[in-house]
């Protein structure tokens, strides 16, 4: 083993660059450890205590850069040192192109003249004008902002439709365009299934289920929930559908939404008649179908399998659900008779209500759908309660519950302490933008709640997500949660335990 190194006089780099380069050198063949640091007295002491100090470093000053490599052989050490220049240049180039974000659309277009999409996330009252500027420049728009006036949305969408452009949003939280996840989105396989969704977490759920089933996504286009209302008329839902119909990579189309206004539905049906590709529709609440069933049907179609296979798969799942439900029901004490669903995803909350309405009586929610009744006080559960923690009443002054778990964690413990609670039902949404470490935030709370009640949850995500689905699942199982593969399966289990 040898320690080799070099001094670079007066070379300045920021810490992120040096960390990145140090890590890359450390992973080179034959290298045991490496560090690139400024030559301060303190850093020399640390190099010494980590076995990376070279005698020559004593000549370096605070403003010199020290490169130290511990390697198995002299050759490996020298080869690593020889690569430092290239790595520093590479990083400097990357930094130079990304470090100065533009302050306006014009500047951004100067930096990226070939861009064809603008993602806009600014205060709603300004977002509409910025979106119009983007459209005028020939860009598709993803409008993450909410609180954009309805008239503005209509004007934007009319303008875009005339020019063959898409306006995803307002309040569009997720999309995957040409393999690039935008805003809250997951890292999924690329493939031949195209999605149009007016339901954000619905899009995330189906895209992850498709990817986890071994198929992939060509494009996933969000429209914002208001698009399928009467006033907007489904303008972008229909444009997106037409775009996927023309897209060569898309072989199967999957539509996800809460039920559109009847007039909008008629327009969609009219367009569907002219499309020759298979289309799976999932209008939550319009039928008994679930997001999972729709996703698996799209997978079967894309892989030219029989749709019976999906039915068989789900029947086998239902048998397993009944087995687990029986086991969990056996643990209930007298008086434990209700399910309490605490959701971060609005679509999941809606799907839960639809499924529970077929299984349970007395379902309440702060965002009622179908037969569920309005909760009098969102902070206090009644009978079977399903809460959408992403509603404005919970998010004013705090981050979205997909990011900040504190409010839900508190509520989990409150519900677990209620002698009438039998099951706590949760969704855990992974991907970009979501809580970076959900397992460590949830595990201790689940462990406590598990002493009194069953905890059932679903995880929306993939192993390629920054949080890694398998790792999160293992941690939550270890904490005592029953982890189901989809929101629908989790809801069915929770309802069956009651």
């Amino acid at each position: 083993m040898i320690v080799t190194g070099q001094i670079r006089k007066g070379a300045y780099f920021d810490s992120v660059t040096l960390m990145r380069v140090g890590k890359e050198i450390g992973s080179l063949p034959g290298v045991i450890d490496a560090a690139i640091v400024m030559g301060t007295k303190a850093n020399k002491a640390i190099l010494n205590s980590s076995g990376l100090l070279r005698a020559q470093f004593s000549n370096a000053s605070d403003t010199d850069l020290l490169v130290a490599v511990k390697a198995k052989t002299e050759d490996a050490g020298q080869s690593a040192l020889a690569g430092v220049d290239a790595l520093l240049k590479k990083t400097a180039k990357t930094t130079a192109s990304t470090e100065v974000p533009s302050v306006n659309l014009r500047g951004a277009l100067d930096m990226l003249p070939d861009a064809n999409l603008a993602l806009i996330s600014i205060a709603g009252r300004y977002a509409g004008d910025e979106a119009m500027r983007a459209l005028e420049n020939g860009l598709h728009v993803m409008l993450f902002s909410d609180n954009v006036p309805l008239e503005k949305e209509i004007a934007l969408k009319k303008f875009a439709a005339k020019r063959g452009l898409l306006v995803m949003g307002p309040d569009c939280g997720t999309a995957i365009i040409n393999g690039v996840p935008l805003a809250f989105a997951n890292v999924v396989n690329r493939g031949n299934i195209g999605i149009v969704a007016a339901a954000g977490t619905g899009l995330q759920e189906v895209s992850c289920l498709i990817s986890n089933a071994g198929a992939g996504i060509s494009q996933a286009i969000g429209t914002g929930g208001r698009d399928v209302k009467k006033e907007v008329g489904g303008m972008m839902f229909i444009e997106a559908l037409k775009a996927l119909a023309k897209d060569e990579q898309t072989k199967v189309i999957l539509l996800v939404s809460k039920p559109p206004h009847p007039q909008v539905l008629n327009r969609i049906k009219k367009v569907l008649k002219s499309i020759r590709k298979p289309v799976v529709t999932m209008f939550i609440g319009a039928s008994d179908s679930t997001l999972e069933e729709a996703a698996l049907t799209a997978v079967a179609l894309s892989q030219r399998k029989k749709s019976d296979d999906v039915a068989k798969q789900l029947t086998a799942r239902n048998i397993e659900i009944q087995r687990i439900a029986k086991r969990e029901a056996g643990k209930r004490k007298n008086g434990q008779k209700y399910v309490r669903g605490l959701f971060s995803g609005g679509t999941f909350c809606a799907e839960a209500q639809i499924l529970f309405s077929q299984m349970l009586t007395g379902v309440y929610s702060n965002a009622p759908t179908g037969k569920a009744r309005q909760l009098k006080n969102s902070l206090k559960s009644q009978k079977n309660t399903v809460i959408d923690l992403g509603e404005d009443e919970f998010t004013v002054g705090r981050p979205h519950p997909m990011i900040d778990y504190s409010l839900r964690n508190k509520r989990i413990l409150e519900e677990a302490a209620d002698p009438e609670t039998a099951v706590i039902l949760l969704d855990v949404v992974l991907g970009y933008g979501s809580n970076p470490d959900p397992a460590s935030e949830l595990a201790c709370v689940i462990r406590q709640a598990r002493r009194n009640v069953s905890v059932v949850c679903s995880i929306t995500g993939t192993d390629k997500d920054p949080q890694n689905r398998s790792r999160v699942e293992a941690a939550l199982r270890k904490a005592g949660a029953i982890v189901m593969p989809s929101n629908a399966a989790a809801c069915k289990l929770a309802g069956s335990i009651i």
Partner: protein, 269 residues
Amino acid sequence: MRLVSIGDQIEEGIYPFHSRFHRAVNFRQGDRLVSVVHEQIGDGPLNIVLREFDAGETQNALEVGTDRINFDGRTLPFASQQRYCSVLNSHPGPHFREKLVVFRKILLKASHPKSLTFLLDDSRIRNFSSGFERAFARQVKFCVDEIFHGDRLNGVRTLAGCGIGLTPSGDDFIAGYLIGLNLGGTGVPASGQTADEVFEAARSDNIFSNTFLDLARQGRLFGRMKNLILALMHDSERAVQEMTNRLCAIGGSSGADLGTGFYVTMCKL
């Protein structure tokens, strides 16, 4: 280019070129630096903020007059209202301690995994994986313990210069410590002697570090830090979140390291 603001510590004079970064050109003013910066960097006691900033190639000196500057061959006027005031003329409100809890939470979320926030949450130590990083984390922990529970100046002396980048994490932490010391209880620099001793113990050959340590010693705050403290004193939790996120956006880990120093100090005082 248009001048947006000019720091209150920049005096009239001619300052020779020192160095150039992507979003800043630095000029020497005695043993500290005056920086002409991009708007994204923001206000500071020694910053001249320009809209449509272009670092150019110039190595000419910067000239500062009473109502104009000359930078890269261009004369840019400014009015007295454009002087950035770096002093905090306010006192902690009744909910300051509660807001500190919010600050800690967001700091942990928004900071670089290898920042000094492991001092606030032990589990973050796992982000330090290489031999050097582990030794670094041990050293920092030792120094911080020394500052708060042992020989303060020895702790500062040993912490100064710890860290890999141009402005070592240890220096950023000490700057946060100085800001915290100055704020302790009264909102005005009350422990001048302590602050001077700490600054002297931390001073090195690194002019970048010396500049911000000197400013912190005097209770002179750059915009993002001042806004954060004002939010902690008087504004909503949402404002604290926003300002913490902005602080953490400084450098790789500099903002978070400074914030950690400030938080730890405020909790110990």
